[in-house]
């Protein structure tokens, strides 16, 4: 064959298959073309070895920290939560369904009797029974908020076990956040379905924070921990959880007292 042109040799070097055998045969007999190919190879090899800066082991985490506040929300359709679609890993485990099922039964019965933060007129026997169930649920949600608050507070106080360790172990908080997450989803979903948007909003924000914690590594650097703390602080979630928790506690202690007409509805969604 005649000498391959530069384009063919570059394509050959790049591994393209067109006329590959023909060019290889030619190269074995043609020192001139072999030298040309060597020159192409020399440039590409030098460029291939060109150093690039190493962004560091934690680069991915840094990118996440930079973009996370700029990500708009993707709201899931409610049936994603109801069916577990999209949360298949944890939600489909049978033992979890048993626990979640039992909890769901209590929550749904209670919510059907009356919305959690709404006052039901006490003018019938049915209403009395409803109030009892409502009170049970208020206590359950109150306890849930109390447990969540405890995890967040502990996270705020976490520090390395001793001065020599660089990592902070938050695996216990992470595990508890995972458990709380499932309860939280159920309470939030039920509150939403029953139109109790104020409570649903607070639970929604709490859920994001719990997700953050549940998805964190078991051991984090002080910088990562600080980042988690800042996200918790920026949402003001601890304050909101305390306010709603206290309100629920007061109502569970004195169910006959009228609900605060503004109640938890004062709480505005704090979108990030």
């Amino acid at each position: 064959m005649k000498h391959p042109n530069e384009e063919e040799l570059i394509a050959y070097h790049g591994g393209e298959v067109l006329r590959r055998d023909v060019i290889a045969d030619h190269l074995s007999d043609c020192p001139e073309c072999r030298e040309e190919l060597e020159r192409i190879d020399a440039v590409l090899a030098a460029l291939g070895a060109m150093p690039i800066p190493e962004p560091g082991e934690d680069y991915g985490q840094r990118v996440w920290q930079q973009i996370a506040p700029r990500l708009p929300e993707k709201r899931a359709r409610w049936w994603n939560f109801a069916t577990g679609d999209g949360f298949t890993t944890g939600w489909l485990e049978p033992q979890r369904w048993v626990a979640v099922g039992a909890l769901a039964a209590v929550v749904i019965v209670a919510f059907q009797a009356g919305r959690i933060t709404k006052h039901v007129p006490p003018d019938s026997t049915l209403a009395d029974a409803s109030r009892v169930r409502e009170r049970v649920l208020i206590m359950a949600v109150g306890e849930h908020l109390g447990r969540s608050e405890m995890v967040l507070v502990e996270l705020g106080n976490a520090e390395p076990a001793n001065g020599k360790q660089k990592q902070v172990n938050i695996s216990s908080e992470r595990r508890r956040a995972e458990d709380l997450l499932e309860e939280n989803r159920l309470y939030r979903q039920t509150a939403l379905e029953q139109g109790d948007t104020a409570l649903a909003t607070v639970l929604d924000e709490l859920e994001r924070v719990l997700l953050d914690v549940a998805h964190s590594p078991g051991e984090v650097t002080p910088a990562q921990l600080e980042n988690i703390r800042q996200r918790i602080a920026s949402r003001g979630i601890l304050f909101k959880v305390r306010v709603v928790g206290q309100e629920l506690q007061q109502r569970s202690e004195s169910p006959a007292a009228p609900a605060n007409p503004n109640g938890s509805r004062k709480l505005e969604r704090n979108k990030t």
């Binding site: 192409i40 973009i67 993707k74 949360f87």
Partner: protein, 205 residues
């Protein structure tokens, strides 16, 4: 796509914003390498990485579940990097006239371009000076050429993928790849040592 990538995409689409973190943490370094080679500096590369993931998040609904997330975000980064480079070039050209980016001599025998007075390759090889030459040579490519070259020779992308990033036909993309190598040869051949100069080469690389 790895199972865990698929799960993370699914969870993100289901409203779990933080599931996206897994994808960001897993693919950032790879996207950074592409972005650095395309933009030639760390600051721009980091901006490309962030923008690529923001765009990937916004467009995640369009992402076909069977596709590879790594390849997909890589392509988004390449697209954004071209725009960024074009913008940068246009800003630079307003400040000072462009250097020599001649289109002549494409058909010339590249061997004839090797100057006799080239400095000793041994002395320059591995040196910072060579790195400077390489950066300069890459900067002299057009954004499309640089993208095509980076994707082909560093990213191992196929011509179709490059054509998609360049929004061109496959034959045009192929030609852009060729032109990029040709320009780089012209700029760098005087400064690099051929492997054949150090050791004998076989007929096949």
């Amino acid at each position: 796509m790895g199972d865990s990538d698929a799960i993370a995409v699914e969870r993100t689409l289901a409203g779990d914003r933080d599931a996206f973190r897994v994808l960001v943490e897993r693919h950032s370094r790879n996207v950074f390498r592409l972005a650095y080679r395309m933009t030639g500096n760390q600051h721009d590369a980091e901006e490309v990485v962030q923008e690529a993931f923001l765009r990937a998040y916004q467009k995640l609904g369009q992402f076909a579940a069977r596709a590879n997330f790594g390849t997909w975000v890589y392509r988004i980064a390449a697209n954004y990097a071209i725009d960024r480079m074009r913008q940068r070039k246009s800003e630079d050209s307003q400040r000072e006239p462009t250097g020599r980016v001649s289109e002549d001599g494409i058909e010339r025998d590249p061997a004839s371009l090797v100057p006799d007075a080239a400095p000793s390759p041994e002395r320059l090889a591995q040196s910072e000076q060579l790195a400077v030459h390489m950066r300069r040579a890459l900067n002299e490519l057009t954004p499309a050429e640089r993208t095509a070259f980076v994707m082909r020779h560093w990213g191992g992308s196929g011509i179709e993928e490059i054509a998609e990033a360049l929004k061109s036909s496959t034959s045009a993309a192929k030609n852009t790849v060729f032109r990029s190598v040709q320009k780089l040869r012209r700029s760098l051949e005087p400064f690099v040592e051929r492997r054949g100069q150090a050791k004998a080469m076989g007929s096949e690389l």
